[in-house]
Amino acid sequence: MTRSRNFVPMLVVGVVLIALYFPIMLLANYPAAARALQRGAVLECKTALECSFDMRSPIIPAPAQLLIGFSSLYFPPTSETSVPYNAFFTGLETLSGLLLASIVGLGLSVLLVASRAFERALLPWLVASQTVPIIAIAPMLAVLLGQYGVEGWIPKAIIAAYIAFFPIAIGVSKGLRSPDPIQVDLMKTYNAGSLQTFAKLRFPSSIPYLFTAFKVSVTAALIGAIISESATISGAGLGKMLSENSRASDAVGLWLVMIGSAILGILLVSIVGWLERVVTPWQRNH
């Protein structure tokens, strides 16, 4: 219902955005094209306006260039140099990183909830970690793990996990604490042990919080995976493609990898949303 009402405005805004792309592109490319003509470079185009549409190294690529690049960089999807192939690896690293982070985060939150001393010593640092650009550590961690012989997709998953870990630990420990005192008392009247209370009350009520944390951390974990890929130029991944294209100064390639990462980011967020609906069907207001 809401979708069909939003459709026309979304279409109009989308068309306006695409129409704006041309003048912005021309504005960016025209001076560079004019300079290239003045230098007397041998080009197939006559005027600077024409040249702005097919420069070899455009500032902002023309739509036609993007389409040509798309057919060579996205097909066949199984090729080792294609965007979908590399995006698959990056996505896998991010998801395994999230899994790892939630296991470690869950373990830590159990300790945080179980021990008051532990909480007082550790929680302030967890909270402070939220305001710190943790991503800065990723390149060094990637190189360091490589020195210890951890290579392939594993170090990227570890770094993704490291970045996703802090929001998850905080979210889950909040979730484990979320049951009402009344509910805890009810469990007591059933003569439930603390282990049973944990398994039947605290753990289930922490799962929505886990997914809220996932939504915050999935993009961050993806960024971590991409950065660590670009820091160690081994294996596959979007980060490797980004740093290669950035070094070769291939604007069309960069744009296409960016679009690929954007699609991957949207896909990962919707996978998390889908998982949430499957795992916590009792939550109505998704």
Partner: protein, 333 residues
């Protein structure tokens, strides 16, 4: 101030533990007779010895008070509203962790090219403080200008969105989609298009921040209680008044929430954008270059500065929030 004997005992034990670690450190240094032994290490050992003495005192007084008053239920003890004291366990943990790392690194003679000792990082920080200060200035400039531009554009756009239903329906779905794009893919494209100067990094920061600020502010401006709108109408308030006296105050907590989140995003954006090209200064640039040369002491120094900046930047936004929206329910006791 009466303190809980158990807490005293706890801190005392931690103190003894720290000084034991310090002893391991000193022994390891002598054993390996390494050249890392420096003035800084001497100062550190003195401090550790002092902590150990305090710890011994703490343990004994804790034991004594436990024996004398085994069931002293003094609620005022550590909960006197002294935030420093409530942070003490966390600070102690950090000290223990740092000393432990230092001791282990010296004991096993791990080279700087793998994990630098905390004292080595401090030394490096002091040695190259001028370079690091220049890097800090560059990153602060990029993050700061990008933050201001991105936040003001986001708020302006949100005001337009709240004014025109059409934009709300047409633009907001895109905004949620755009916010799940990883910045790191955006950064090289923008650095390629806008050059290696600081402006390109500021642009990355502005774009990163724009969407969360837009989404949050729009929500705050639009999610107004219908009853209060009816009330305003019964006062015969014109739309301008409704906007100024109702929508804006309603949105302020949302705006500040977005501004606080954005402080971290701004630093991440600036640092990540510097990974993909800069003119030779900036914390991200420093981290990448020094990582390439395996001089991890400089990397750690830069990371620590970035973390410090992140905490300061966030708390500035929080301070502003408390100044402006101190009246809000969430700040009441």
């Amino acid at each position: 101030m009466a303190t809980k004997p158990l807490n005293v005992l706890l801190f005392g034990t931690a103190g003894v533990f720290i000084s034991l670690l310090g002893m391991i450190l000193v022994i390891a240094n002598h054993w390996n007779s390494s050249e890392v032994w420096s003035g800084l290490s001497v100062v550190l050992s003195c401090v550790l010895a002092l902590v150990g003495l305090l710890g011994v005192g703490g343990v004994s007084s804790g034991v004594v008070s436990l024996l004398v008053a085994p069931r002293a239920k003094d609620k005022t003890g550590f909960d006197l509203g002294l935030s420093m004291i409530s942070l003490l366990p966390a600070i102690l943990l950090a000290v223990v962790a740092v000393v432990l790392v230092e001791a282990l690194i010296h004991a096993f003679q791990i080279p700087v090219a793998q994990i630098p000792a905390p004292t080595a990082v401090i030394q490096k920080f002091l040695e190259s403080r001028q370079v690091l200060w220049r890097d800090t200035q560059t990153t602060l400039l990029e993050a700061g200008i990008g933050y201001v531009i991105g936040a003001s554009l986001g708020i302006l756009m949100a005001i337009l969105v709240s004014r025109y239903q059409f934009l709300n329906k047409g633009l907001m779905p895109y905004a949620t989609i755009f916010s799940s794009i990883p910045i790191v893919a955006l950064a090289p494209v923008i650095v390629k298009a806008a050059g290696l100067e600081w402006g390109s990094k500021a642009a990355v920061v502005a774009i990163t921040i724009f969407f969360p600020v837009l989404v949050n502010t729009a929500r705050g401006l639009l999610e107004v209680n219908p009853l209060t709108i009816d009330l305003m109408r019964s006062y015969a308030a014109d739309p301008r008044r409704v906007f100024l006296d109702l929508r804006i105050p309603n949105a302020l907590p949302y705006i500040f929430n977005a501004l606080k989140i954005s402080t971290t995003l701004a630093l991440i954006g600036a640092i990540v954008a510097e990974f993909f090209g800069s003119t030779g200064s900036g914390l991200g640039f420093r981290i990448l270059v020094e990582t390439g040369q395996a001089s991890f002491d400089s990397v750690w120094a830069a990371i620590n500065i970035a973390s410090f900046l992140g905490i300061v930047f966030y708390n500035l936004a929080a301070l502003l929030e408390r100044r402006v929206t101190g009246w809000h329910v969430s700040f009441r006791e």
